[in-house]
C-alpha cells in the first residue's frame, strides 16, 4: 500500500509468539490484542522518526520482525498497519469542530472514519477489494515490495548520457535519489527533469545542430540498426523451444528476490550471477514464442523485454557484489554496525565506496567495465544516517 498511509497508520506485530501462532490459526483477531502485547517496532527502534522512517529502513525492519517469526499471516510475511488511534484522534477533533463536546465512542468512530475516508478512501477501498477485510475495522497486513529503482542510465549535470545527443530523464536515469528514494520524490524528479531541467540543458547541445538539417534515414547506420532489430526478433520467434517467456521471467525474479533482494551477501550474489547466466543461456535455446513477428504479438514483445532483463539482472548482481558496503536500499549482510546505538543498522563505507558505479557494456554483462564518478560532499557533512 502507499507509503502515505504511514502518516496516520501505526505499524506493529504481536509482542508474543503465542499470539502470532493463534492469529495464524485463525483463533485470535488482531483487534483483540491489547496495547501492552503489541510491538510498535518502528516507534520502539526509531523514536525520532517513528513510523515515518525512510522506506529502506522501514522495509528492513519489517523483514527483521518477519524473519524472527513475528509475521502475521499464513506466509509469515506481513506486519500490521493500524489506523485505530488515528481514527480516534481525528474523530475527537471532528466532534469538537462540530460543537459536540461530549461525543460517544460510536460518534468518535464515525467521525474518525469519515476523515480517514476523505484522506485515503480510494486506498482503503483497493485494500478491501484485494484482501476482503475492512481496513477501517481491522489493521491492514502489509509487506515491502520492489517499487522503484534508483539506479539507471548514467547522466551528467545536463542529463546527457555518455552517448552525445542522448538524454535520460525521470526514473530511467540515476541522478537524484542516491541509494534510497524518499516517498513523494519520484513525481518531483520526473516532472523537474521534464518541465524545468531538460528543456534548458538540451539547448546547450542542440545549439550546435542548427545547421545540420533533416537527418535522412536511408543511411548505412539505419540499415545496420534495423537489420539487427529484425534479426533478433526473428531469432526469438525461431527458437521454438518448450518453455514460455513467463517461465524464464519468474525464475529470474525468484533468484533476484532470494539473492539480490532486501539482504545480500557475497556467496548469494556470486550464485545469482551464475544462475542468471544459466537462465539466460537456456532462454536463448528453449524459449517458445508463438505467432509471427509480422503483427500484434504480445508474447514476442515480452520475450524481447525479458531477454533484456536477463542481461540487466546479471549486471545488477555484479554491481551489488562490487559494492561491499551497505547503503540505502542496498544492504550487504557483511556490512552492519556491530555495536553502539546503531547496532544492526546498515554500515556505509565512505572510504572505499563514495562513488557512483557507472558500467560500460562490453558485450557480456558479467564482464562490464566499471567507471567511477567520485562523489563530493561540500555542502552536507558526510555522516552516519540516524533516524533514532
Amino acid at each position: 500500500m502507499s507509503e502515505s498511509l504511514r502518516n496516520d497508520g501505526r505499524i506493529w506485530v504481536p509482542k508474543n509468539l503465542e499470539d502470532v501462532k493463534s492469529i495464524k490459526e485463525g483463533k485470535l483477531k488482531p483487534t483483540a490484542i491489547t496495547e501492552e502485547n503489541r510491538d510498535y517496532y518502528l516507534e520502539r527502534r526509531y523514536p525520532a522518526f517513528g513510523n515515518l522512517v525512510p522506506r529502506d529502513v522501514a522495509s528492513r525492519a519489517a523483514k527483521e520482525r518477519c524473519d524472527a517469526g513475528y509475521g502475521v499471516n499464513g506466509t509469515g510475511e506481513a506486519v500490521y498497519l493500524d489506523f485505530k488511534s488515528a481514527i480516534e484522534r481525528y474523530g475527537k477533533e471532528k466532534a469538537l469542530v462540530l460543537g459536540n463536546n461530549n461525543p460517544s465512542d460510536s460518534e468518535i468512530l464515525k467521525f474518525g472514519e469519515e476523515v480517514i475516508e476523505a484522506k485515503y478512501g480510494n486506498l482503503f477501498q483497493m485494500y478491501e477489494k484485494i484482501v476482503d477485510e475492512n481496513p477501517y475495522k481491522t489493521p491492514m497486513m502489509i509487506y515491502p515490495a520492489v517499487h522503484y529503482t534508483m539506479g539507471g542510465v548514467w547522466v551528467d549535470y545536463n542529463l546527457m548520457t555518455s552517448i552525445p545527443g542522448c538524454y535520460a530523464a525521470g526514473e530511467a536515469n540515476f541522478s537524484d535519489h542516491g541509494a534510497n528514494r524518499l516517498g513523494a520524490s519520484a513525481l518531483m524528479q520526473g516532472l523537474a527533469d521534464g518541465y524545468f531541467v531538460l528543456p534548458y540543458t538540451i539547448g546547450d547541445y542542440l545549439a550546435n545542430e542548427i545547421r545540420t538539417g533533416p537527418i535522412p534515414t536511408d543511411t548505412p547506420e539505419f540499415d545496420t540498426a534495423e537489420k539487427e532489430v529484425s534479426d533478433r526478433l526473428n531469432k526469438l520467434i525461431n527458437i521454438k523451444g518448450t518453455k514460455s517467456v513467463d517461465h524464464f521471467h519468474k525464475r529470474l525474479g525468484q533468484v533476484m528476490w532470494n539473492n539480490v533482494g532486501m539482504a545480500r551477501n557475497e556467496s548469494g550474489l556470486k550464485e545469482a550471477i551464475k544462475t542468471i547466466r544459466g537462465i539466460r543461456e537456456e532462454f536463448w535455446k528453449d524459449v517458445r514464442v508463438p505467432g509471427t513477428a509480422n503483427g500484434l504479438n504480445t508474447e514476442l514483445e515480452k520475450a524481447g523485454r525479458v531477454a533484456d532483463f536477463l542481461e540487466l539482472g546479471e549486471l545488477f548482481a555484479l554491481d551489488a557484489l562490487n559494492r561491499n558496503e551497505s547503503c540505502g536500499g542496498h544492504f550487504r549482510e557483511e556490512s552492519v554496525e556491530l555495536d553502539g546505538e546503531q547496532k544492526g543498522e546498515a554500515k556505509r563505507d565512505d572510504k572505499n565506496f563514495k562513488y557512483v558505479s557507472a558500467w560500460e557494456w562490453t558485450g557480456d554483462p558479467g564482464n562490464s567495465k566499471l567507471h567511477k564518478e567520485e562523489l563530493e560532499f561540500n555542502d552536507i557533512e558526510l555522516k552516519q544516517r540516524s533516524y533514532k
Binding site: 507509503e3 502515505s4 515515518l52 522512517v53 522506506r55 485515503y120 517499487h147 522503484y148 529503482t149 539507471g152 542510465v153 551528467d156 549535470y157 548520457t161 552517448i163 542522448c166 538524454y167 535520460a168 530523464a169 525521470g170 530511467a172 537524484d176 542516491g178 541509494a179 534510497n180 528514494r181 513523494a184 513525481l187 518531483m188 524528479q189 520526473g190 523537474a192 521534464g194 518541465y195 524545468f196 531538460l198 534548458y200 546547450d204 542542440l206 545549439a207 545542430e209 537527418i215 534515414t217 525468484q254 528476490w257 500484434l296 504479438n297 514483445e301 540487466l312 554491481d319 559494492r323 542496498h330 556505509r348 557512483v356 558500467w359 567507471h371 564518478e373 563530493e376 552536507i380 558526510l382
Partner: protein
Amino acid sequence: MSVIDSKTPEGPIKEKWTNHKNNINVVNPSNKRLIDVIVVGTGLAGGSAAASLAEMGYNVKAFAYQDSPRRAHSIAAQGGINASKNYQNDGDSNYRLFYDTVKGGDYRSRESNVYRLAEVSGNIIDQCVAQGVPFAREYGGMLDNRSFGGVLVSRTFYAKGQTGQQLLLGAYSAMNRQIGKGKIQMYNRHEMLDVVKIDGKARGIIARNLVSGKIERHSAHAVVIASGGYGNVFFLSTNAMGSNVTAAWKIHKKGAYFANPCYT
C-alpha cells in the same frame, strides 16, 4: 577503470543552476523549428519533457508502448509530490529538502543535481496548479500537505491517493495541446528497439509498431529516454507488468553507461 566527469558547474551550490542557465548555449526560436527531438516514454518525465520541448518550438516525436500516454505507470503513484514551499510554516526550505534527499539517499547522490531538484520543486507545484491539477486543499482553500518518510516537515502535496494520475493528466493535457498544434507527433503502441548512432551521436531510433509488427526508422537531432525503471527484473513488483528496461538497456548496449543498478 576511468574517472568520469559529471560536468557539474563551478560555484556555490545555490548559484550553480542559475549560473549554468545563464552560460549555456541557447537555440533561437526560429532555429528551434529546424530541430527534431525524439522522446521515448510518455509518463511524467517523458510527457512533461515532450510538452515543454514542443511548447518551446522544437519538433517532437513521442513514443509510447501503451495505447495512450494516459496509461503510463506514473498514473499508479498514490502518495504525493514533494516541494519546499514551506506552506506549513514548519521551517522548510530548499536547503532542507536538499539535505533530506541526500541523507535519505544515504549520501550516494550527486549534491548539485539534488540541490537543483529542490530549487525547482516549488515551480512544479505552480505549473501543475496552473494546469488545473486538483491538489488537495484545506477548508480555507490553501493547498494541503502531508508528511512522508525520512523528513521532519510536511511538504508533500497530494490529490487523495491518486496524485500520479492527476499529475499525469496535467502533463498529458499539455502534450495534447501540442499534438493538436502539430508540434508533437504521437506514436502510440510503438516500442523503441534500438538507438541509431551516426558519427558517435544519437541520431534516431528503430521502433516496432506493435500493432502491425512493422519496423520503422525515425531520425532526430537528439533522443530522450524517459522509459522508467527496471523493477520488473524481480518479476513481482509494484510496477505494471508491461514496465520494462528495454529502451534504457538498448542505449546502454550502444555506449551509455548504466549507473548503480543495485540500488533498488
